[in-house]
Symmetry: C2
Subunit: 266 residues, 2 copies
């Protein structure tokens, strides 16, 4: 670990999925997490117990003398709380948020040292992740802190790199498609199978191969299925089958049309 | 391999992605593929060369004395061609199609022995697959052929099983969500990144983890992201960023709304 960070005192503000995994990854590398704040004592204490930290659900009780504050709240909450977050804190402290879409400059005028520490991954508390393979995008308002954050990120990941707020925001919206919308497709799959008393597990080889394919083929090239072939017979039969769930039928029609549009010039 | 099939003579009608992978898997297990038909000589000869078969693009020149005809055409083409496919062929031959959504009974009145052989996977010619892990769903109009097809499927896959036409159709529509729509999300991701000169490869750890997660968590539980959190600040900013591509912005709004609806009672 970095000598500069040896005596660091890290406070986590937020104890959600991302905060939980990031705090645990840092703790495992020997970083000193002194306190966890969360809106609920339950969440604060749960994470605190995993990283040997104290915990609080009282904003006024957050340590004022930490060297690094890592803020991982929902974006709306964070934006409103910035003045409260920095109020009364050590003027030499470094403040970072972990959000994909929020610009670094939100800190401007509030703190003197600030930045962003954005691990691009889907985190659920119930599931361990290997931080080493997770891209972490770093930004800070001065070169020294950029280097510092990059060193910290490199301690827990082999894929630490710099990104501007503009780039990070574009990565985030793309990640919503790659991950959040993709997972929603899995959720709709599970719903359809459940209605037919079929096991979701039967889909796993297909889900895995679909993900593996785009390691070697561009997604446009990897596309298969009735919409790509513009096979109206199949699509109409599927729409008929989905009639009892108009929202899902609409999604089927909209997504099929989008695929057909993308392949009309193949 | 099955002794019954040792002297089998298999004809493939269709030389697309599925036919190519299935023919090669059967050939690798010692099955005797005598001929490949395709609408284009190029496709027919390409597959034929891989499985030591003859080839034709002339429907009239399809072998009449094969024991097993495997038809893998687009569904619309297949439905129209059934009479031509069976016409003049060996009355003792077994006819199967490989489609997810078409019922087995399409063969009724045309052939005396018939069935379905549906490998549920996404196939691209440019990419090898391991057939052993692919679920294959079997159906036939008599017990003997059900057993026979199940034996053939079990020769190339550890996941051969029976499914009725009704079940298979439900599996197929679910697979469109799990695979085709998922891959389209990857394609939209690639488009967004390309516009920003960012590499698609940066998304692979996220794509992989999203797929891996649903091996241990139900997709509903695995869901993350701004729509699940109903984080309007982020979603509105993303919609603003996508303004120059209204079709993609509409998809973003529709899919986010669907996720929010699915999680409003969490």
């Amino acid at each position: 670990m970095n000598t500069e960070m040896k005596d660091s005192r890290i406070v986590f503000i937020g104890a959600g999925n991302l905060a939980t995994h990031l705090a645990r990854a840092l703790y495992a590398k020997g970083y000193n997490i002194v306190q966890v704040y969360s809106r609920t004592l339950e969440a604060a204490s749960e994470l605190a117990s995993k990283v040997a930290a104290s915990f609080t659900n009282d904003f006024e009780a957050i340590n004022t003398d930490a060297s690094l504050y890592i803020i991982s709240l929902t974006d709306s909450a964070f934006v409103n709380l910035i003045p409260q977050i920095v109020k009364g804190k050590n003027k030499e402290a470094l403040f970072v948020h972990t959000a994909g879409t929020l610009p670094m400059e939100l800190w401007q005028g509030h703190a003197s040292r600030y930045g962003v520490f954005y691990p691009m991954q889907t985190f659920s508390k119930q599931r361990d992740v290997d931080f080493a393979s997770i891209p972490i995008f770093i930004e800070a308002n001065n070169q020294q802190d950029t280097d510092l954050l990059l060193k910290i990120a490199s301690d827990i990941s082999q894929k630490a790199r710099l990104a501007t707020s503009e780039q990070r925001k574009k990565l985030h919206v793309a990640a919503v498609f790659a991950c959040n919308f993709t997972n929603h497709m899995y959720a709709l799959t599970a719903e359809l199978l459940e209605k037919s008393n079929l096991s979701f597990d039967v889909m796993l080889p297909l889900i895995d191969e679909t993900a593996r394919k785009v390691h070697t083929l561009a997604p446009h090239t990897a596309q298969t299925g009735p919409a790509k072939r513009n096979d109206l017979l199949v699509m109409n039969e599927h729409l008929r089958m989905l009639e009892d769930d108009p929202a899902v039928a609409d999604l089927y029609a909209t997504l099929s049309q989008s695929i057909t549009n993308h392949h009309k010039n193949d």
